[in-house]
């Protein structure tokens, strides 16, 4: 990573509105041609971060570097950055052609060149023949394509995307994810993508920035943040996870539920209290006697690829994804391999997440864009 050039850098950015801290000491480096996702629940500051990069907002303190130069107060119209807005913000008084040509027209590009480049853009987003179409007569997906074309025609170094897929239905969203990824590869520019959808973030990004309460929680590759989350918030927000209180007895030895387990983590103080993350797919259900931990099955849901089984272990409910069927009421043993265990330091999010006692609620919250702190 270090040999790659940083195209954008945020250093200690802080922003407050009416005394409320929206961004709290945000620092972030983004390399050229990278696909970076800002991920977090609504109100976490991801859109504000995007607005700072776009030039709609000046930070209260901290610096924004673009290609090594400070651009804190450079207005949006002078930045080599373009944005795709959440509701697209297409000009209702202009047709498809005029919308896409807008950026070139205000820069007084010759008419012939505009014509040529709009044509290329329409081809890129598969909207050939739509030139004269009125914006109000386009479907959501088509409006999305016009918004993409209108932004990238200006050949920005960075394209900012503010939850661009939120307004589309699931099927279309999947298609657009692939298409956006292709467009990014074709154009070879940096994408900074804002979303609250963790699946979208994992499948599209080179680098994911998990944010909450105005702070960056974790920066890493999708694999990093899934396999090695830094705290309970990240572990819970990215995918499903069982987060259990544990004690680090020694290097490679952790005690949970009264049982000492082998693990691959080290570097903690002896007997340090920790959060232990175990992903549902990493737990095997075995015969009672063969298990390291024992519990009672309280719910079984068939999901096609696998079963989702909730096991009550001394009042703490584990979620387990397995292809083997169990029955509600079965007394079962749980088997966990050392590499399935990930140890995290205690944080302010400890104890807030990772228990599946209120299982159905949790599903609702995760699929809800307004997902916030509603733990009970």
């Amino acid at each position: 990573m270090s040999n790659k050039k940083n195209i954008l850098e945020l250093k200690n950015i802080t922003v407050s509105f009416d005394g409320e801290k929206i961004l709290d000491d945000i620092s972030l480096s983004i390399s050229d041609k990278e696909f970076v996702t800002l991920l977090g629940p609504s109100g976490c500051g991801k859109t504000t971060t995007l607005r700072i990069i776009a030039g709609f907002l000046e930070p209260d303190s901290g610096d924004v570097f673009f290609d090594g130069e400070i651009i804190n107060s450079l207005p949006a119209n002078k930045r080599n950055v373009n944005t795709i807005f959440q509701r697209y913000a297409l000009f209702p008084h202009l047709n498809v052609y005029e919308n896409i040509a807008f950026g070139l027209k205000v820069k007084k590009v010759p008419k012939e060149e505009i014509k040529q480049r709009v044509k290329e853009m329409l081809k890129l987003v598969n909207l050939e023949g739509f030139e004269k179409r009125s914006i109000s007569k386009l479907s959501g997906g088509q409006q999305q394509r016009v918004a993409i074309a209108r932004a990238v025609i200006n050949k920005p170094k960075i394209l900012l995307l503010d939850e661009p897929l939120a307004a589309l239905d699931l099927k279309l969203r999947k298609d657009m994810q692939t298409e956006l990824k292709n467009i990014q590869r074709t154009l070879g520019i940096t994408f900074i993508f804002v979303t609250h959808d963790q699946e979208e973030a994992l499948s599209m990004s080179d680098k994911v920035v998990v944010m909450n309460e105005g702070k960056i929680q974790h920066i890493g590759t999708p694999q990093d943040i899934y396999n090695e989350p830094v705290n309970a918030f990240v572990a819970d927000f990215i995918g499903e996870s069982n987060i259990i209180d544990g004690v680090m007895l020694d290097d490679f030895k952790v005690k949970i539920e009264g049982v000492t387990l082998q693990c691959l983590d080290k570097g903690f103080k002896p007997n340090e209290a920790v959060d232990v993350v175990i992903r549902p797919e990493d737990v095997d259900i075995v015969h009672r006697e063969k298990g390291l931990i024992t519990g009672v099955v309280t719910s079984v849901t068939f999901l096609g690829v696998h079963y989702e089984i909730i096991v009550d272990v001394n009042g703490f409910k584990w979620m387990i994804q397995t292809t083997d069927e169990s029955k509600v009421g079965d007394k079962v043993g749980l088997l966990i391999e050392p590499d399935a265990i990930h140890i995290m330091k205690k944080s302010k999010y400890s104890g807030l997440y990772g228990d599946y006692s209120s299982f159905s609620d949790e599903i609702d919250e995760i699929s809800n864009p307004d997902f916030g702190f509603k733990e009970d």
Binding site: A54, G55, F56, P75, A76, N77, K78, V81, N82, T83, F85, Q86, R87, A89, L90, F91, P92, H93, N95, F102, G103, K105, V106, K107, S134, I135, S136, R150, A151, N154
Partner: protein
């Protein structure tokens, strides 16, 4: 709801419209095309081709046009500035703008007559600083000023409301695409607030062209507009037929101008804000 019930509910309105709108209009048409004896004639309209009347019509249109343009020049930037303010200030300014509308037009006009008169506050001030008295009443300046003062709120309110409804992300989008402040105004704000401008223009132009009170009081009898002509035919000459003919011509003039305006609005309002 059954259609009979609907019709029943509409009845008072239909009755009202018939008695107080349709019948008077028909009477205007009737009087226009009859002489004092009630016989059919074109004479009343022919009289209006006289130079004297033509010039009154021309002046009325000219003054109304001036007042409309001045209102627009004041109202548009003002609305833009107000729409950018915090909502508390916006509300306060809205009340201040509407305040003159709550005062009777006659009282407002009379007040202006006092202010502009030879012994009024402005001339007293001019005298005190040595400029000397300036005759203001009876000039076209006074009449247009009165129109602008009385009808300015009707220009501001529709424009302001279209500015407030404008999606702010469109402005950000145009800045994002490289537009300068002037380009944002020219290419996004103006086209999207045009419907407000059109209705503002209509709402100032129509009362301006038909006013008689402002021109009588501030024109001091020196400036005669269509409204004055009509008023004189009815109250001084008691010539209902010619009065009706002038009214009819004025109504047609207004209808034409509104139609032209709406046509203009339709062409530019694709989709709306």
């Amino acid at each position: 709801m059954s259609s009979f019930k609907q019709k029943l509910l509409n009845a008072p309105y239909a009755f009202w419209s018939f008695v107080f709108v349709a019948i008077p209009l028909l009477m205007v048409v009737y009087y226009t095309f009859t002489d004092k004896g009630g016989a059919f004639t074109f004479e009343n309209l022919k009289i209006l081709l006289d130079k004297k009347y033509i010039s009154v019509f021309a002046y009325s249109i000219w003054y109304a046009f001036l007042a409309t343009v001045i209102c627009l020049v004041i109202a548009y930037p003002l609305s833009y500035i107000i729409s950018k303010m915090k909502s508390v200030f916006q509300d306060t300014l809205m009340v201040l703008i509407m305040l003159p509308m709550w005062i009777n037009l006659l009282i407002v006009t009379f007040s202006w007559k006092e202010i502009l008169s030879n012994n009024g506050i402005i001339n007293s001030l001019f005298e005190a600083i040595g400029i000397g008295k300036v005759e203001m009443l009876g000039t076209s300046f006074a009449v247009v000023l009165g129109m602008v003062y009385c009808f300015l709120p009707f220009m501001i309110l529709p424009i302001l409301s279209s500015m407030q409804k404008l999606d702010k992300s469109l402005i950000e989008a145009s800045e994002d695409l490289g537009a300068t402040k002037i380009n944002v105004i020219k290419r996004v704000i103006v086209p999207l607030t045009l419907p407000g401008v059109i209705s503002g223009i209509t709402m100032v132009f129509v009362p301006s062209i038909s006013t008689f009170y402002i021109s009588q009081k501030l024109g001091n009898g020196m400036i005669i507009l269509i409204g004055d002509l009509i008023e004189r035919q009815f109250s001084v000459s008691a010539n209902y037929n010619v009065g009706a003919a002038i009214s009819l011509v004025m109504m047609i003039l207004i209808l034409i101008s509104v139609a032209v305006m709406n046509r203009f609005a339709d062409d530019n309002d694709k989709g709306g804000a």
